[in-house]
Amino acid sequence: MDSILLWPILVPLLGGLLVLAVPRSVRFWKESITLLATGVNLWLVCSLFDKNLYYFWSWLGFGNIEFSLRLYHFSSFIVIAAGAFAFLIGLYSLSFMKYRNYLRQFYAYLLWSLALANGAVLADNLIVLLFFLEALLITSFGFIAIGSKDSMKTAIKAFIIMGITDICLMTGAIIAGYLSGTLTMSNIHLTVSGLGGLAFILMMIGAIAKGGSMPFHSWIPDAAIDAPLPFMAYIPAALEKLLGIYLLARICLDLFQLQAGSWASITLMTIGAITILLAVMMALIQKDYKRLLSYHAISQVGYMILGVGTALPVGIIGGLFHMINHAMYKSCLFLTGGAVEKQTGTTDLSRLGGIGRKMPITFGAFIIAAMAISGVPPLNGFFSKELVYDGALKSGAIFYLAAVAGSFFTAASFLKLGHAAFLGKISEENKQVREASPVMLIPMIVIAAGCILFGVYNSLPLQHLIQPILSVKQLAGERFAGWPASSMLVVVTCVVLIGALINHYYGVKSEGSGLKAVDHIHYAPGLKGIYDRAEKRYFDPYDIGLKLAGYLSQITWGIDKAVDWIYETAAVSVSFFAGRKARELYKGYYASSLSWALLGFLVIALYLMVTLNG
């Protein structure tokens, strides 16, 4: 019973309440509370690192639904990452969110999201896990809803998509609990077959949707436009990836024993590969800084799913390493986007350009993070991608090809983004742009430095944070730190990156600007039509679902009308017709009354005589 485990949940929770409790007019209060709470939380979870703690409280008193928390290597790693991001993004928001509306709500959501994420990661009971994950929907909804006047629609979209997938997760969790007879996560060990297979699929849907995988992704690009930017860096880029992939890894490693080459593994890898390719293709053609990043946030989760889905140690290690790397460089990229938005007032790439000279530190952080996401050695993204490639190649060449193709387009789109935003000719309106405030720069610099650190010195995260997640037996003595084992893969990666560079030069040369560098792909025969439809949301599962729901409600409305007609018209007229006919039989004459009575008597007497003989 280590009640200290409650503090990572309680500290941000109480912090959020304090933020809301104090009047708006008290200055610096909410900011200082946020920094204090996230800082205390970070210090707390760091001090708990690599301990094995367990907290248990009989919660509802029935079933085996108890409030149990468990801290071990994996969960402590995730809560540290979450705490660090919360602290840095809190710091960043001090400057970014200045002079905006709903500030108290924003900071409260920030703190509560942290509390709920900590709770979800520490939970050792499926019901407790669901409780925290569901509650996280509320803060996400709030975050998006306070973004702008029109963001309510996007908030509802996110809420519905996540709500539906959480129902899948819930159903899967209940089936898993039913099959294993317990809801305590550390005691559930199932196989992926029969009902267990259904539970696996359902829980997997919940996990990958949390991570933002296709086809549950479509709210993220919309939120990129509508929600406050720190939300994007915080929730979809960092916390949800951490939670989703943590959950996926728990499902694949603990709750179920995923076997390499099994149908479940193939399914996961297919989802991963498709997500990588489709999302990166959409990212390629975006003309907005934040929207482009948001598609990459979807695309990159494909690598993680692909890696974990291989069920091979190298793939899982790669996927998890990619998870933490992605959280770092994607947050950093969103933060640079926020800096650009704050300083220039726009994220529309056609109105940007040439500001690299004005904002050199932002540009530097961008270059490091963009190189990391493209997988340029020796940054962290390179190493984690190599591990994922290794696992994918061992599972099937097709997955490897998809992953490598994804890399090519990732690199191409970031060359385009960097070129269009920071290089080229500066426009008139951006002449006066200045570097962002230090409060915003510090988080970017810290995270960018982390990207370099995790790349150059990759044995630090791999050996101390990630490898211990797998058991010694699973690792089978393999080592993953250091330079990639297969130099052939490195060569292919380098060739692909150089190819992307050449492609960029070709594009710039033929189209004349960085913004249009990929237009030869965008308007390629065959692709153009697909792109046009995708931009019009023909492929958005949410919109398709809405349309189907519309048809369904029309059909049910028709059925309802028919039922109404039966009740209101058919039944009534039949009854009245029968009533009139029955009245005609009886007019009230003595003779007819008497003869009816005598007729009845005769029938009864006849019936009795028949039964007498029989």
Partner: protein
């Protein structure tokens, strides 16, 4: 003691007709106290343990006059209903029958009818039962027509004609029974029927009895007199007829003679089932198209009596218990509806529902109590009618008459349909200009409406607490 229930009313009739000065004026009070006393007496008797019917409780007066009476739970239920209906009839009659002379006649006839009804219920002898039945019936003919309206006279005459046919049938049946058993006492007849092989005379007697009682009870196709009589009788008399007279004359006798005395053979069940379902469905359908408030209630009575018959058809068990409870509940809610119709008729001067609308604002208590009664009649939980209908339908299902059970459930939708159409046409909607000055009914009508509504709700809410033993004693009548 129970013979007092017959003799005290007779004594009071003699007393109030004595040529003393003031005694006439106290007739109403005496009758009222009599009804009250009967209610209290039966309620007290409910809570004292009873010996079974077969041992027959006889008392000194009964021996002296040489007729046999007996009491069981069924008898007590009926006695309670008689007292209650009489009370409500007197309360309503005070508002409706204004003329002193007419009121005196009205009270006289009611007390005579009461003696007859009590006699039917208590009799343990087939001929005694017949005699009391005729007493009650004759009082009823006159009650229908004592105000000498032309339509009421016609209705009473129609009732008389059909009742004459019923008398012939019943007397013939009694003669046949005496032929078979040599005595008129229930115990001896029952013994003889059990010993003998039956044969044609017994079956003929059975058929004659069924038809005779069915005429008295107004069961389709023997119902010809009933709609006219209920409609044209003065308002309080309608309450009395619908509330208790047809129940006792037709249904109680049917239970006592046909199902208890003759025993529940399969062919009796078949006959009762057919008559019951005909009454339920056709009664409801015909009620649906009526424009006259009371006529709709009259057809509704036929339909509800059909449910009781269906309960009887199930034989011993939940069905029979439900049938007996439905007698009680029907007394309550149908009397209440007739009280409401009396209120509407006295205050607006019409019973034609096409001329009425929007009275709920002017007559809130009447409107509310009629909703309670309608819902109870349609069998909406938690009102009293729900439980008895539920028992009947469970009984039908258990006895294997599943199709009939389904039809019975569906028919209660029609029941709700026409009863709600009363609400819609009379109480809801826009108040007509000629009805602007209508006021809520007062005094006796109001008291009886509230009293009956309270019983309908109270019995419904208290039903789950009624001891199972009481239901069992109701349902095991036929076990012997």
């Amino acid at each position: 003691m129970f013979s007092l229930l017959i003799f005290v009313p007779l004594f009071i009739v003699m007393l109030i007709n004595m040529p003393f000065g003031g005694i006439r004026k106290s007739a109403y009070i005496l009758a009222f106290l009599l009804a009250l006393a009967q209610i209290v007496f039966t309620l007290l008797a409910f809570f004292t343990p009873l010996s079974p019917l077969s041992s027959g409780r006889q008392d000194i007066l009964g021996n002296f006059f040489n007729f046999r009476i007996g009491v069981d739970n069924l008898t007590l239920v009926l006695l309670f209903c008689i007292g209650l209906t009489l009370l409500v009839t007197l309360l309503t009659g005070r508002e409706v029958v204004v003329d002193q002379r007419q009121r005196f006649n009205f009270v006289n006839l009611l007390v005579i009818a009461m003696a007859g009804l009590n006699g039917i219920v208590l009799a343990q002898d087939i001929f005694t039962m017949y005699v009391f039945l005729e007493i009650a019936a004759v009082a009823s003919y006159i009650l229908i027509s004592f105000q000498k309206g032309i339509l009421a006279l016609e209705a009473a005459f129609k009732y008389l004609i059909l009742s004459a046919a019923a008398s012939v049938l019943m007397l013939s049946a009694i003669a046949l029974l005496v032929l078979v058993s040599g005595d008129t006492s229930f115990a001896i007849i029952s013994q003889a029927l059990r010993d003998g092989s039956g044969g044609f005379p017994v079956k003929l007697a059975l058929g004659l009895f069924v038809c005779g009682f069915a005429i008295k009870g107004g069961i389709i196709p023997f119902h010809g007199w009933l709609p006219d009589a209920y409609t044209e009788a003065p308002a309080p008399v309608s309450i009395f007829l619908a509330g208790i007279v047809t129940k006792t004359l037709g249904l109680y006798t049917l239970i006592r003679v046909v199902t208890v005395l003759f025993g529940q053979a399969a062919y009796i069940s078949q006959i009762l089932l057919v008559m019951g379902i005909l009454s339920v469905v056709f009664g409801a359908w015909m009620a649906l198209t009526q424009n006259d408030f009371k006529r709709m209630l009259a057809y509704s009575s036929i339909s509800q009596v059909g449910y009781i018959i269906l309960g009887l058809a199930c034989g011993p068990g939940w069905g029979l218990a439900g049938a007996i409870l439905h007698i009680l509940n029907h007394t309550v809610f149908k009397s209440l509806l007739f009280v409401n119709s009396a209120a509407v008729e006295t205050k607006t001067g019409t019973r034609n529902m096409d001329q009425l609308a929007g009275l709920s604002d002017r007559m809130p208590v009447t409107s509310f109590t009629s909703i309670i009664a309608s819902l109870s009649a349609a069998g909406v939980p938690p009102l009293a009618g729900f439980w008895s209908k539920l028992l009947i339908i469970i009984g039908l299902w258990q006895a294997g008459f599943k199709l009939v059970a389904v039809i019975a459930v569906l028919a209660s939708i029609i029941t709700l349909g026409y009863l709600l159409s009363i609400q819609r046409r009379v109480f809801w909607g826009k108040l007509g200009s000629e009805l602007l000055n209508v006021k809520e009914a007062k005094g006796g009508i109001m008291i009886s409406a509230v009293l009956l509504a309270a019983i309908a709700i109270g019995v419904g809410l208290a039903f789950p607490f009624i001891p199972a033993a009481m239901l069992n004693s109701l349902s095991s009548l036929l076990g012997g």
